[in-house]
């Protein structure tokens, strides 16, 4: 025991611990406060991203073959169900176009610039996922050079899945809504309550046991019914308005019985992501 804790070794252990926690604390702070990581880190990430392609491309190709096969098996059944929806979608789409056009004309009339509902989607392929229990992170193949910035919301299959956590030149990291860290899923959202009232709030947490997002601290009296669609409300300036989040699965009281707590079932499957789109506001 005395040999183990010899002076030199003890000093080394202490120094290593100090450096480790200094670096960790420093990089967590940097990550929260700066829009991009230090240049050397970006450079490293870009190089490693290229290296990763050598392994990831064949692996993803194999995955695609299997996905295609299982998709094929479901096709007949799916086709039947989807046919029924097609007619409905066409009608909605036309109406949407007309409304968008009208909206544009009205905005021009009012001399209004782009509002929070105007955004474009940048499509990116998922290269890999962090092998970590706590950081639910994906690496995607688009970065600053494609116009991606930190904190932009990320969508997949038409609904919100997370936000951009770190941008490098050619790739970026995305933090999923299911991440357990404090800041991962703080999106400002809005729910249409009964009798025309709107409930605004923030996603305050994620319950992994039931795969539900939690919107806490709801103090309005408006009653919210199960199955209501939840979407982002555009507050905060980076996330556009009207990104679909999920459906209300249940409404409960918080621990003190004072405020309401709304549970939202996200419509995206966080574990089956190959292509994502990143929403970029125009203004």
């Amino acid at each position: 025991m005395r040999k183990f804790f010899s002076n030199r070794r003890l000093v080394m252990i202490v120094v290593a611990l100090v450096v480790a926690f200094g670096l960790m604390g420093g990089s967590v702070t940097l990550r929260n406060n700066r829009l991009t990581p230090p240049l050397i880190q970006q450079f490293g990430n870009d190089i490693i991203g290229f290296g990763n392609d050598i392994i990831a491309s064949p692996a993803n190709a194999v995955q695609n073959v299997f996905t295609n096969y299982s998709d094929l098996l479901n096709t007949y059944h799916e086709n039947k169900e989807l046919k029924q929806q097609v007619a409905e979608v066409a009608q909605t789409k036309v109406r949407d176009q007309v409304l968008a056009k009208e909206n544009k004309q009205l905005k021009a009339e009012l001399n209004m610039k782009n509002s929070m509902t105007d955004y474009e989607l940048i499509t990116a392929a998922v290269i890999t996922r962090s092998p970590s229990a706590w950081q639910q992170q994906l690496v995607v193949n688009k970065g600053q050079s494609s116009g991606i910035r930190k904190n932009m919301p990320v969508m997949s299959a038409g609904s919100l899945i997370g936000r951009v956590e770190e941008v490098n030149k050619t790739n970026s990291k995305i933090e999923l809504l299911s991440d357990t860290s404090e800041a991962a899923n703080r999106f400002a959202i809005e729910i249409d309550g009964k009798n025309g009232k709107t409930v605004n709030g923030v996603i305050t947490g994620y319950q992994s046991e039931t795969n539900e997002l939690v919107m806490g601290q709801v103090t309005t009296k408006a009653s919210i019914s199960k199955g209501t669609k939840v979407y982002t409300n555009g507050m905060g300036g980076i996330t556009p308005k009207g990104l679909y989040v999920g459906k209300v699965s249940r409404v409960g009281k918080d621990d003190y019985g004072l405020a309401q707590k709304v549970y939202i079932k996200p419509s995206a499957d966080f574990n089956n992501l190959n292509v994502v789109s990143i929403a970029k506001t125009d203004n």
Partner: protein, 177 residues
């Protein structure tokens, strides 16, 4: 001599493949690895280091050096939080060395040492992230939801890959004797 053996190419290439396979497997089998409430961590990189130590024979691979490299890359690319894996990988290499000295080498002791390595790795990872504030998971949840499935998966890796990797190292070190 490491410099003259086939391991000089084989070990870094294997490390490269294992490191990126960790991420690719986590992505491809995400619905299996991260099915609620479990979170399984693929540790092929760690497996490669531990196996390399067991099978290197007389050839001394500079494992600590490679562990630091792998740690830096994992920090920058997979987590984005610097300063954890750069120390954790070398620490586990050192732990393997210490443990291996007190056991006779066999399949069973190897798997036992790997078991301890993975458990130590995950626990220290959890502890550090808890202190820094990346996670707020309770220790009970950690043991049930993270440690148990992680150990299970990685022991399966170990059992499946023990003989293939052993054969590869045997081939790579054969030229020496």
């Amino acid at each position: 001599m490491y410099r003259l053996s086939r391991l000089r190419y084989l070990f870094p290439i294997g490390l490269f493949i294992m490191f990126f396979l960790d991420g690719s497997l986590s992505k491809i089998f995400a619905s299996f690895f991260f099915s609620y409430p479990y979170a399984t961590v693929s540790q092929l990189t760690l497996l490669w280091f531990v196996m390399a130590y067991f099978f290197e024979g007389d050839i001394q691979i500079p494992l600590t050096f490679f562990a630091v490299i792998a740690g830096v890359v994992a920090d920058v690319y997979y987590s984005g939080i610097l300063g954890l894996f750069i120390f954790l990988y070398p620490l586990i290499v050192w732990l393997t060395r210490v443990l291996a000295h007190s056991f006779n080498p066999s399949f069973l002791t190897s798997i036992l040492i790997f078991f301890i390595d993975v458990a130590a790795f995950e626990f220290l990872n959890y502890l550090a992230y808890n202190i820094v504030g990346v996670t707020t998971m309770s220790i009970v949840d950690f043991v049930v939801d993270v440690l148990t499935p992680t150990l299970a998966l990685n022991l399966v890796y170990f059992v499946v890959l023990y003989w293939p990797i052993s054969a590869i190292f045997k081939w790579a070190t054969k030229g020496e004797n």
